[in-house]
């Protein structure tokens, strides 16, 4: 999957919970209070379902999830392992 496809999928997903027109790729979604506490698990389910990645204990690092960019990097890092 190329980076553009990943970006699009992330944007489509995040767009269901926040107005992605108004956020930068590096905006901290959690610190900005844009998302509620359920978003964390919705994000995990999204990444797992959409990219076939398993999010596990060792992945629990806010740097993996805090912004659209961070999520992108996390997925890219995990994808080769998953495939």
């Amino acid at each position: 999957m190329n980076p553009e496809e990943i970006t699009l999928k992330i944007k489509n997903f995040a767009g269901q919970y926040v107005n992605t027109d108004n956020i930068e790729a590096d905006t901290d979604l959690f610190a900005s209070g844009m998302v509620n506490s359920l978003f964390a698990m919705q994000l995990v389910l999204f990444v797992e379902k959409e990219f076939g990645i398993k999010v596990e204990n060792e992945d629990l690092d806010i740097d993996n999830f805090k912004s659209l960019d961070a999520i992108h990097l996390f997925i890219q890092r995990k994808l080769p392992v998953a495939s």
Binding site: S37, M41, L45, L60
Partner: protein
């Protein structure tokens, strides 16, 4: 969404309902009156593999899928909401360990949880912190040797008198963190809670942690992820189980009323002949069916691992618990004075149904997140995306 059960699911449902007929219904009133669940009943759940239903086979469980689990909870809710709550809290801890445990934690805890050698309790709520659960006051501080000392109290733990392992949320310098705490830990004690309106045989307890010593390896997940991820996973599982349980409780009330209205005569005819009774029966049946359908939808999304599962489960829990309260209330009405007597199960169902609106996130909390979800979906629709 396919709501037809296949042959395997039908036979599983039959087995669950048979178990409830044989072991749960005959003892439920007595357990309620005595405010206890006898160990033999818990052992019978373990023997059937119900305590380990969600544990994968490699760890000694049944590896049951979400739909079958739902059917099991529905059957259990039909017989006893208190007993359902044992399956609920036990499975919440199992899901949390399965999802966020390290390999070592999974290997250590899942086999005894599956066999029922360990009964698990879920400890989030405190005396002063309920719905605002992220801000629990129980704290944890690390010692030089890496072990943790927990300080604080938890209240209203279902089966807290029985459980030997608790999933406890505590704060490490403001970072919500989940811990697995064994009953025998130094500085840990429990105190039974009595006087409950419903869930009377759920053997509730308060937990006291007074510099309770917890090994370094008993953190579940990572500091700061205890609420959002670990407790989040558990609560989602809890809402799912409770939604199905409510559907079962509702079905029990409907069945009781169909029987009763056939037998009870007033004004020279069985009361089923009175149209105002029929109105209540029609509403009960319809609400009960609608609750089941939302549960099936949640099951289908769970199977797919779809992110919308979280909100749809919240809706299922919200609707099913409201329906259960209304249906149980009408069931008491239909039974008249008999409905107010513990000689008829609808009296217990009525008390238990009310609890369902409060646990696993009160219905006001569900309403808040459902409304927010509605606005978000509406926004997307206006932008021309998705299929809200």
């Amino acid at each position: 969404m396919d709501m037809e059960l296949n042959a395997d699911q039908i036979s599983a449902r039959q087995a669950f309902r048979q178990f409830v007929e044989q072991h749960v219904i005959p003892t439920a009133a007595k357990c309620d009156a005595l405010r206890e669940t006898p160990p033999e009943l818990i052992e019978s759940l373990a023997r059937e593999g119900y305590l380990g239903a969600l544990v994968p086979k490699e760890y000694g469980g049944e590896g049951m899928d979400g739909l079958k689990w739902g059917l099991l909870c529905e059957a259990m809710g039909y017989g006893s909401a208190s007993l359902l709550s044992l399956l609920t809290v036990h499975s919440m801890v199992i899901q949390a360990v399965l999802k966020w445990g390290t390999q070592a934690q999974r290997e250590k805890w899942l086999p005894p949880l599956a066999s029922g050698k360990i009964i698990a309790g879920f400890a989030l709520t405190e005396n002063k912190t309920g719905s605002d659960a992220k801000n629990t006051k129980t704290s944890a501080r690390q010692q030089d040797d890496g072990t943790w000392l927990l300080q604080g109290n938890k209240k209203w733990m279902s089966f807290g008198q029985v459980a030997s392992l608790f999933l406890i949320l505590a704060q490490i310098d403001g970072k919500a963190t989940a811990f697995l705490v064994e009953r025998g830990s130094r500085g840990f004690s429990t105190e039974p809670i009595t006087g409950m309106m419903g869930f009377r045989s759920a053997m509730l307890a308060q937990l006291h942690m007074d510099d309770c010593l917890v090994p370094a390896e008993n953190i579940l997940g990572r500091p700061g992820f205890g609420f959002s991820h670990v407790i989040g996973t558990a609560l989602d599982q809890g809402r799912y189980s409770i939604a199905w349980g409510c559907a079962g409780l509702a079905r029990a009330c409907v069945d009781a009323c169909l029987d009763y209205t056939d037998q009870r005569e007033q004004f020279g005819v069985p009361i089923r002949e009175h149209q105002l009774i029929q109105e209540m029966i029609a509403d009960m049946i319809t609400q009960s069916r609608a609750a089941q359908m939302l549960c099936f939808r949640a099951a289908s999304l769970k199977e797919q691992g779809d992110p919308s599962l979280i909100m749809e489960t919240s809706m299922a829990k919200y609707f099913a618990s409201r329906a259960a309260v209304k249906i149980a209330s009408d069931a008491v009405q239909i039974h008249g004075a008999n409905g107010c007597s513990n000689q008829f199960p609808v009296e217990r169902h009525f008390r238990d149904a009310k609890i369902m609106e409060i646990i696993e996130g009160s219905n006001q909390m569900q309403q808040i997140i459902i409304a927010r979800y509605g606005y978000q979906r509406h926004q997307i629709k206006k932008k021309g995306g998705g299929n809200p």
